[in-house]
């Protein structure tokens, strides 16, 4: 895959971190403002997609990233299951997905028990999944050309 001109690369250098930061904000404040794990994860993935499209000729690096992303995605979904199972084991009510951490005050950043944790895990999973799909489309297409 070919990269783009120097104008696009420089603008991408400035914009991609801001998009990534906005995605992190959406994930971390998911229990207070609109958004959540899915939306924030896709926003973070779009920052990576922008980078890949702008600087395209780093194919060998991308191939290494792919296995790391697969690991991240599988680990995130395993963590989601573990968090759901913790509710079954630890809490007194013995319910899957039981929210046993202290709820705190409604409206504060550290509140709502396990919901922020689940938001972060789902955000990681969605970000890794969509970036993996995009990298797969890019890398394997170039493998065919070679």
């Amino acid at each position: 895959m070919k990269g783009m001109t120097i104008i696009v690369r420089k603008v991408t250098q400035f914009i991609a971190p801001i998009i990534f930061l906005f995605g992190l904000y959406i994930v971390f404040y998911g229990h207070l403002t609109p958004g959540g794990g899915f939306a924030g994860g896709v926003i973070m993935a779009s920052a990576f997609i922008l980078q890949i499209l702008a600087n395209g000729e780093i194919l060998d690096k991308l191939r290494q990233e792919e296995s790391g992303l697969e690991f991240l995605e599988s680990g995130a979904i395993l963590g989601f299951l573990i968090i759901a199972g913790l509710g079954l084991i630890i809490s007194s009510s013995f319910v899957f997905f039981s929210n046993f951490i202290n709820k705190g005050i409604v409206g504060k950043l550290l509140s709502a028990g396990m919901i922020p944790l689940e938001n972060i895990i789902v955000g990681t999973e969605v970000c890794a999944a969509i970036t993996t799909i995009f990298i797969a489309l890019v890398v394997f297409k170039d493998e065919v050309a070679l």
Binding site: H31, G36, A84, V106
Partner: protein
């Protein structure tokens, strides 16, 4: 507010019609974007910002992927010529439109107002702020009351990635 919604819907229908009749695939995909972004504005008008955020980002990502695919493949679509069969299609379309209009006219008169019998669960959910502790009700429902749903959605995404990797990978991971 309803008049804005109707304008957006008409715009979306026009966009999808144009994308059906566009000359090349690139303009078809871009005009299909009208449908997605119109849907975003419709969600905002219906006061669903959570859905609007997800929809706008997904729309951008799919548009980028589709344009990337079309840039690498053929750009001109094979055009079908108008013939006698199109006249029959139009006739069937007209018949079905009239039939559906009459049916919905009959049905919507005899139904109870929207949400009358389905709000028992919804009232339980709206009181759930004190149970989940989440100020954003949608996240509270998605991760609290509907945890199994979220687990299923995450699994669907996981399965999709496995499918893409399995189909697209030609060489083995170790190399040959």
């Amino acid at each position: 507010m309803e008049i804005y919604l109707i304008i957006m819907l008409i715009l979306m229908i026009c966009g999808s019609l144009f994308s059906l009749h566009a000359k090349d695939l690139l303009s078809a995909v871009i005009s299909y974007g009208i449908v997605g972004f119109g849907l975003v504005i419709s969600f905002l008008l219906l006061q669903a910002p959570d859905l609007a955020i997800v929809q706008v980002v997904i729309e951008i990502v799919t548009l980028v992927i589709m344009i990337a695919v079309i840039k690498d493949t053929t750009e001109v679509q094979d055009k079908q010529t108008a013939s006698f069969s199109q006249f029959i299609y139009l006739l069937v379309l007209l018949l079905f439109t009239i039939a559906f209009y009459l049916a919905f006219d009959k049905i919507s008169g005899s139904l109870s107002p929207f949400g009358q019998h389905t709000t028992r669960m919804a009232t339980a959910y709206t009181q759930g702020v004190h149970e989940t502790g989440s100020a954003n009700l949608v996240t509270g429902i998605v991760f609290g009351f509907r945890g199994y749903d979220t687990l299923g959605e995450a699994t669907v995404l996981f399965t999709a990635v496995i499918g893409v990797l399995t189909i697209l990978r030609l060489k083995g991971k170790k190399g040959e």
